[in-house]
């Protein structure tokens, strides 16, 4: 067989025990890939348990990466290459593979005990299970121990280097240099020289293993064409990193400090962790006692003049809904980031879903409207974070930004933005104006309806705010019926006012009129993009969910049918019916897994098939 395979893109899946260091190996592979100029998209898929028992199927930790010529917008439907560290990893990954895929097995992992744990009666390596695949077996553990022998590590310590051994093999397979990984190891393990050197040794040994007969004889190396990404400086970024950077950037654009108040929860925690490293940007992080305290502290920080931000996932957001009402009533700026996960209740904490849209738009007591945004890709989390802060301070309102567990962890190349190209964020500083401070505090900007952001410490502007209904003119408590009607109308008008400041909805792909348009939101962007591209239908993807872009109704009216794929039971479809009086078809997937491109293509073709 020929030694080199020219391909447009390759999907690699690394799978093993939670303890095998799969996630680390995957992200390092991604970076090396990136530095070689390939486009890519990753999908880390790990269990809810911290270190689930070795060898179990539910304990399998996997990292899938799709690399090649752009545009790569998903981690790929099916792996072309699978590296399985043990039988359980093989068991859960096999159903995903295309026939003919390359399967690399760590033979050492295939002990009778592990086979049993994975629920294999027979050894899949012998009973024909793998007949349709190109299989390579290697005693990776032993090879690794071999390689690091001179370091005098214990068997388990030595064994822990095997992820770098395999990484070496992969880098050989894709013709990548070892430099970035070695640099990374140098940095991270500077403290433990022996471990550091052992890992580097393992990495090189793995690479050498590729060069030598054993492997190069049997399999081909992949040769990928360079990606055609727009010119610029790039980095690999996850949604959590991008959103954290975006919040910090917004603080800089608004020239205010940022107080991020949160309580850990999967998959929101990475954002908190990331922000603790941005403190020189005037960002503070406060880990509160619970979600209620965290949103309340953020409200207090906004009241004090900083940009208050809080974050959680569904169950925690549920606890914040009462306080959101206070922020709406007191008209204070606030950003609430929801990293959606599988539910209901505790549900599937580490799996992704986009089922909190109802909660975001409709999930509060009383008529309590607030703006809702969502991010489509990891990189886009940066811009949407800035947009959320911009709307919050412009209209003096809490804003919900929806992201999800997939975006939190998925990495992709990101072109560094030119921060100077962003409009500064203007705050409603008190205009003086006539009347008491109480009146001034509730004097609204005619277009945005945002009130003046007067904060304690400002001389001569002492006033009182709270959650009771206020007189629309004086800002004092009022139970007057007519006034309550006016205030209710004002709150609705304020949300509507946002419409005048957001961009018209653009079409991602396809014609601006036709039989079928696919409408998406959030992290389904990637698979829908590819499916629309493959089928040639038009594609519209929403970032502003409440209010919807001003032209959306007219735009959708130019199509006979609307298809809305969602990782929930039809929540955007409800929103479109409610706000635009259209009647879309729903395509719902609620399995905790992102859409596969082929699932969407099949659905679109089926719909196109039906007479419209």
């Amino acid at each position: 067989m020929n030694k080199n395979k020219d391909v447009d893109s390759v999907v690699v899946r690394l799978a093993g025990d939670s303890g095998d260091g799969i996630q680390l190996m995957g992200s390092q592979f991604a970076v090396s890939t990136a530095l070689a100029g390939a486009d890519f998209s990753t999908f880390p898929d790990y269990p809810a348990e911290i270190r689930a028992p070795a060898g179990t199927t539910f304990g399998v930790s996997a990292y899938q990466i799709n690399l090649g010529r752009d545009p790569i917008t998903t981690a790929g439907d099916a792996p072309d290459v699978l590296v399985a560290f043990n039988p359980a990893a093989l068991k859960v990954s096999l159903p995903l593979l295309y026939r003919g895929a390359l399967v690399i097995l760590n033979s050492d992992g295939f002990t009778a005990r592990n086979l049993a744990k994975a629920g294999y009666e027979k050894d899949p390596r012998e009973d024909g299970t793998l007949a349709d695949f190109q299989v390579v077996m290697a005693d990776i553990t032993n090879l690794t121990l071999e390689a690091v022998r001179d370091f005098g590590l214990s068997k388990s310590e030595g064994g822990r280097c095997k992820n770098f051994y395999v990484l070496g093999v992969m880098l050989w397979m894709f013709d990548r240099s070892l430099d970035t990984v070695e640099a990374w190891i140098e940095r991270k393990l500077a403290g433990q020289p022996t471990i550091r050197d052992a890992n580097i040794r393992a990495l090189r040994a793995g690479h050498a293993y590729g060069e030598t007969q054993e492997l190069s004889a049997s399999i081909a190396r992949f040769r990928l064409p360079p990606a055609e990404l727009p010119a610029g400086t790039y980095r690999s970024i996850t949604g959590a990193e991008a959103l954290a950077l975006g919040i910090a950037a917004a603080g800089e654009l608004a020239n205010r400090s940022v107080m991020f108040c949160s309580y850990p929860i999967t998959p929101a925690s990475p954002m908190l962790h990331r922000l603790t490293h941005l403190r020189e940007l005037g960002v503070g992080t406060f880990q509160a006692e619970d979600e209620i305290a965290s949103i309340c502290a953020a409200i207090g920080a906004s009241y004090g003049g900083m940009i208050g931000v809080t974050s959680s996932s569904g169950p925690g957001i549920a606890l914040k809904t009462e306080a959101m009402g206070l922020a709406v009533s007191a008209e204070l700026p606030l950003v609430i980031v929801n990293w959606q996960r599988g539910g209901p209740s505790t549900g599937l904490p580490t799996k992704t879903e986009q089922s909190d849209l109802y909660q975001a738009v409709y999930g509060r007591n009383a008529d309590t409207p607030l703006p809702v945004l969502s991010a489509s890709t990891s990189g886009e989390c940066f811009d949407m974070a800035i947009e959320a802060v911009r709307i919050a301070v412009r209209h003096m309102t809490p804003v919900i930004l929806l992201a999800d567990g997939y975006l939190s962890n998925a990495a992709e190349p990101w072109r560094l933005p030119d921060i100077d190209s962003y409009e500064p964020i203007l705050c409603n500083v008190p205009q003086g104006g006539e009347g008491s401070a109480q009146r001034q505090a509730f004097t609204r900007h005619p277009e945005t309806l945002g009130r003046a952001w007067i904060t304690p410490g400002m001389p001569g502007l002492m006033h009182r705010i709270g959650g009771l209904e206020k007189d629309i003119a004086t800002g004092h408590i009022s139970y007057d019926p007519a006034n309550h009607q006016q205030m209710t109308d004002m709150r609705a008008a304020k949300l509507a006012a946002v419409t005048h400041f957001i961009p018209n909805q653009a079409i991602e792909l396809g014609d601006d009129t036709g039989d079928l348009v696919v409408v998406g939101w959030g992290s389904t962007y990637g698979p829908i993009y590819q499916a629309a591209r493959a089928t040639g239908v038009s594609f519209v993807h929403l970032r502003h969910l409440n209010p919807l872009p001003p032209n959306l109704g007219a735009l959708l009216d130019r199509f006979d049918r609307i298809l809305v794929p969602e990782m929930n039971n039809g929540q955007l479809a409800t929103l479109l019916r409610d706000k635009l009086r259209v009647d879309p078809l729903s395509y719902c997937k609620v399995s905790g897994q992102p859409f596969l491109i082929r699932e969407l293509v099949a659905k679109i073709e089926a719909v196109l098939g039906e007479a419209s």
């Binding site: 530095l35 100029g37 970035t180 990374w184 010119a231 400086t233 790039y234 980095r235 690999s236 990193e241 950077l245 950037a249 800089e252 400090s257 107080m259 108040c261 941005l278 403190r279 020189e280 940007l281 005037g282 503070g284 406060f286 509160a288 006692e289 619970d290 209620i292 305290a293 309340c296 502290a297 409200i299 207090g300 920080a301 009241y303 004090g304 003049g305 900083m306 208050g308 009462e322 306080a323 206070l326 007191a330 560094l416 933005p417 921060i419 904060t455 304690p456 410490g457 001389p459 001569g460 502007l461 002492m462 006033h463 009182r464 705010i465 709270g466 959650g467 009771l468 004092h476 408590i477």
Partner: protein, 328 residues
């Protein structure tokens, strides 16, 4: 230097909406006076409250005021303090607001030692919702939700505060001008979380629940006014005092004229003594019961923050991350 303000300067135009005869009126007066006495500035003072009759307080104080939601005032005040540590932040709360729904936030504000002057108006009842028993109501309290008497054993605000690691706990009676002013000034001077329990008479739903020791006629015998470093004396011409019985590990009353040497001297830094004083029933201990200065949360927060919340670098420096590459 700025003109000294008078209590009137801390009054707002708003009509006070408590029931006639409510103990809250006396507290309002005392706080306005205390603010003037300590030279507080309205613009750098903020009152944050939850929900309840007590929590209406901010509307009546000419300073910044935030009437928030039920039980959450300590959390909101914590955020405010983090945003602006130099503010003088008071939290006004009721026994239900702080110890029923708000117990968790009170606990964490106290253990973190956030610089908040927390005033707990304890009337042992839910006033605003029309008189149900509260977590400080005594067993057997008859109320609309406990017609045959409540069965929950109450929590002691003082014991709770100390258990949470509070650094300051004081007590006063709504109508005791002198005692109340004294603790308010001490609380104001304390940089850290101070909890001040004020026995407040709800004339409508729990009238005279504190009558046994608030009655002026018998005050001398029923009230022990503590001063740090001074012997614990009370009673007619301070003729009686308290002694620590090492056998029973408890406080007992002694004739102070007969055996003055037995009388304990109040040490506000003694946590065990504080716990004994809190549980004392006759006399009831008033004044600063416990006080132990320590770095406040926001001071620790800022000290630990490399740039003290300032922007010392630009986002530009952070965008590239650990590794980046260029595409021509």
């Amino acid at each position: 230097m700025r003109a000294k303000l008078s209590p009137k300067d801390f009054a707002t135009s708003q009509e006070v909406r408590w029931c006639p005869g409510c103990g809250d009126y006396a507290i309002l007066k005392a706080v306005q006076k205390a603010l003037a006495d300590v030279g507080a500035r309205p613009e750098s003072t903020a009152f944050v409250s939850g929900i309840g009759c007590a929590s209406r307080f901010p509307y009546y104080i000419e300073s910044y005021g935030f009437h928030t939601i039920h039980g959450r005032a300590p959390a909101i005040a914590t955020g405010l303090k983090l945003a602006n540590p130099e503010l003088d932040v008071w939290v006004v709360t009721g026994d239900g607001d702080s110890l029923s729904i708000g117990g968790n936030h009170l606990m964490h504000a106290l253990r973190r030692n956030v610089d908040l002057k927390i005033l707990l108006f304890n009337n042992e009842i839910y006033g605003l919702t029309k008189g149900q028993y509260s977590p400080t109501s005594r067993v057997g309290t008859r109320s609309p939700s406990s017609p045959t008497g409540s069965v929950d054993s109450p929590v002691s605000p003082g014991q709770f505060a100390l258990g949470c690691g509070a650094h300051f706990f004081a007590r006063a009676i709504d109508t005791d001008k002198e005692g109340l002013s004294h603790v308010l000034e001490k609380a104001h001077a304390f940089r850290g979380a101070s909890l001040t329990e004020i026995f407040q008479n709800c004339i409508v739903y729990n009238e005279d629940v504190f009558g046994s020791f608030t009655d002026r006629a018998t005050a001398a015998d029923t009230q022990l006014h503590l001063r740090h470093g001074e012997p614990m004396l009370f009673g007619e011409n301070r003729g009686r005092g308290l002694r620590f019985n090492t056998a029973t590990w408890s406080l007992e009353v002694v004739d102070a004229t007969a055996t003055p040497e037995d009388v304990l001297v109040h040490d506000e830094s003694n946590p065990l003594l504080a716990r004994l004083l809190i549980d004392l029933h006759l006399p009831v201990a008033l004044g600063v019961i416990y006080r132990k200065p320590a770095q406040s949360f926001e001071d620790a927060f800022y000290a630990n923050h490399p740039s003290r919340m300032q922007r010392t670098r630009s986002i530009r420096d952070f965008l590239a991350g650990p590794a980046s590459w260029t595409v021509e």
